[in-house]
């Protein structure tokens, strides 16, 4: 079940765009042009792009929080300028500029972000239950980090999804770290996906630096759950090139990660990996690649412009009070 040339091209375009948006947001944060915090995606953007790409608009998805879900949103064709507008406090933001970073695109099956790591596990049960009960082939993709799977909520969701054979993919975007903690010290086995064994859930492990490899696995996993075969676990082994969130030192435990270590990791940059692949496989020429880069820059500029030109949201207290309860 290999990917078509068209799909590969689309994935490559989205990957490049995800990368440039991430750098743009990083830059804005450093310039003070963002509200709250940002968790840079560099090194770990491939899984989201690949996963989102294979989901239909109706499918329910919690993109992983790294890069604030943007790779996954791009994958799913969400208008991410509305995310940037939100994160800059604008009226055009996806949550009317109220949420700082708690995005929500219900019309795209992306209901929510939350300040709680592991928040997605509880509603995943409900989304899966609803999807199954409606019986229209909708599925749920629940992504979380290696740290996220430390949450007891993960156990409850996997248990219940298996009991009910819900159409849910449990995905771990394992970048080997959670803030400063290394996965080696926070999980007792080599793979997070070993958890799936406890429930008799099938599991796949894939190289998360290779957007095409993840896309193939995602496609198969989605087919599996859409066919009513119950949950499946997908672990993507990925990386984090930068600090956890901008402003926090980049430590492993309490020691800084070394320049060498980081340089080493960067050899596995997902854009680098993908570029080599598309060139080698004859999917794209260098000229095409350059064009894609330029188009991405144009799109990045558009996104910034949209956010920057939108009006700051400053509703009155009264207006806000009226927005607390649904009519």
């Amino acid at each position: 079940m290999s990917l078509s040339k068209t799909v590969k091209r689309e994935l490559y375009e989205k990957l490049v765009l995800a990368d440039r948006i991430d750098r743009m947001i990083y830059g804005r944060m450093m310039q003070g042009k963002l509200i709250g915090f940002y968790h840079p995606g560099e090194g770990g953007i491939a899984p989201g792009v690949a996963i989102g790409h294979h989901l239909t608009k109706d499918d329910i998805y919690t993109p992983h929080h790294r890069a604030h879900g943007i790779p996954g949103m791009l994958g799913k064709n969400v208008p991410v300028e509305r995310y940037l507008a939100e994160h800059t406090g604008k009226e055009t933001g996806c949550c009317k500029g109220r949420s700082s970073f708690h995005w929500s695109f219900p019309e795209y099956g992306i209901y929510m972000a939350s300040g709680y790591i592991g928040f997605q596990f509880a509603p995943t049960v409900g989304w899966g239950w609803a999807a199954k009960r409606k019986g229209k082939g909708q599925i749920v993709w629940c992504s979380a980090g290696d740290g996220g799977y430390n949450q007891g909520r993960a156990h409850e969701a996997m248990l219940m999804a298996m009991n009910w054979k819900l159409p849910v993919v449990f995905c771990c975007e394992n970048n080997g770290m959670a803030i400063h903690a290394t996965v080696a010290s926070m999980h007792p086995t080599e793979h997070i996906s070993s958890l799936a064994k406890g429930y008799g859930m099938p599991a796949v492990i894939v190289d998360g630096q290779d957007v095409f490899a993840v896309a193939e696995v995602a496609k198969k996993a989605i087919r599996h759950v859409r066919a009513g075969k119950g949950p499946i676990f997908v672990e993507t082994k990925t990386l984090r090139f930068r600090e956890h969130d901008i402003g926090t030192p980049d430590l492993a435990g309490h020691m800084p990660r070394s320049e060498e270590e980081l340089a080493d990791l960067r050899r596995r940059d997902p854009v680098l990996v993908a570029t080599e692949r598309v060139l080698a496989d004859g999917v794209l020429t260098q000229t095409q690649i350059d064009t894609i880069g330029e188009q991405a820059d144009v799109r990045v500029a558009e996104i910034e412009q949209f956010a920057d030109e939108s009006t700051i949201a400053r509703p009155s207290e009264q207006e806000l009070m009226e927005a607390v309860y649904a009519p």
Partner: protein, 329 residues
């Protein structure tokens, strides 16, 4: 308009039967309504017994002892257009998945740009009387009450139980309905025809002139007992808030204009309670109406002991009488 409580088509039902009628009628009215909880197919409390025969296991959904997954079944499906009623069995179990059912629920609609509603009813059995000690006896209305974005109402009669539950199920917001185990078998008139008791409407359960007593749930019953006993000496007006949020401040102020004295009875700790909050509001909004300080009857600030201690540690008729007499002195 709700039908008269003593209309012709009114029968006597137990509190718990009234609750069950609300579930049945709303599930029949609306396919999207369903229930999820633990052992509700069997029924730990009688309010769910037999529902599975009528609606099947697809709509009377039992889950493992996984409160976050159980609550998540409600939360996620509500976003997908269902209208879940989630039964937590004993109220204290909400604390097991508190992040989900308090702040994440309360903030969802507002923080995410008021886009899609989150119609969930959270129901729970609460209260003293079973002598199971603190974690099985505490009231939870006071814990949900401060959470913005969540409504909280608590019935004290079969009529209100059915009417408030139906209003909650039809509401487009998360609504918490704790119900007191001590009222479970109380009987009272319940009309057969469709009605709701709107959230946010207090009810004058007894008219009086000397002092207003605001009391809910089992403590309303205790208060009415005291009102009867003292009738010859003190004329007590007894108001049932029914709904804590939204709260019917107008009804309370109307009563205070007449009585100028207030006792609030609340089966909860004093610290951070609904009772204290209303006292503070009365202070701010009706200082000049008061002829005596507002007095609270609540738990002393200790975990609720079990054993033989519960009856004299919890609010009870004696404590209410003492407070009423003190305020009217």
């Amino acid at each position: 308009m709700p039908p008269e409580k003593n209309a012709e088509n009114t029968r006597e039902l137990a509190f718990i039967e009234a609750l069950k009628e609300a579930y049945i009628e709303e599930m029949e009215r609306d396919e999207r309504v369903f229930m999820v909880g633990q052992d509700i197919q069997g029924g730990i409390f009688p309010h769910t017994v037999g529902l599975v025969d009528r609606f099947g296991p697809e709509r009377i959904v039992d889950t493992p002892i996984s409160e976050s997954g159980m609550y998540g079944t409600a939360f996620g499906s509500a976003q997908e257009g269902f209208r879940p009623i989630v039964d937590f069995m004993f109220g204290g179990f909400t604390y097991v998945t508190w992040a989900e059912c308090s702040v994440t629920t309360g903030q969802y609609y507002f923080l995410h740009g008021s886009q899609i509603p989150l119609p969930i009813v959270i129901t729970l059995a609460v209260g003293t009387g079973q002598r199971l000690a603190n974690d099985h006896s505490m009231g939870l209305h006071g814990s949900f009450f401060p959470q913005p974005g969540i409504k909280v109402a608590m019935p004290s009669t079969p009529y209100d139980a059915k009417g408030l539950m139906k209003a909650a199920i039809r509401d487009n917001n998360p609504v918490v309905i704790p119900w007191h185990m001590g009222l479970m078998m109380d009987r009272g008139p319940v009309p057969e025809e469709d009605y709701i008791v709107p959230l946010g409407g207090a009810d004058v359960k007894r008219v009086g002139t000397d002092v207003t007593v605001l009391a809910n749930s089992l403590q309303l019953k205790n208060t009415l007992e005291v009102a009867g006993k003292l009738a010859d000496e003190i004329s007590m007006e007894v108001i049932d808030p029914r709904s804590f949020e939204p709260f019917d401040m107008d009804a309370l102020l109307r009563s205070l204009e007449k009585t100028n004295r207030l006792v609030i009875v609340d089966e909860d700790w004093e610290r951070g309670s609904f009772a204290a909050t209303i006292s503070a509001r009365v202070m701010e909004q009706a200082f000049d109406l008061l002829d005596a300080p507002v007095t609270l009857v609540t738990f002393p600030n200790m975990p609720i002991p079990g054993g033989y201690m519960e009856p004299y540690i919890a609010p009870n008729p004696d404590k209410i009488e003492t407070a009423v007499r003190a305020v009217c002195r």
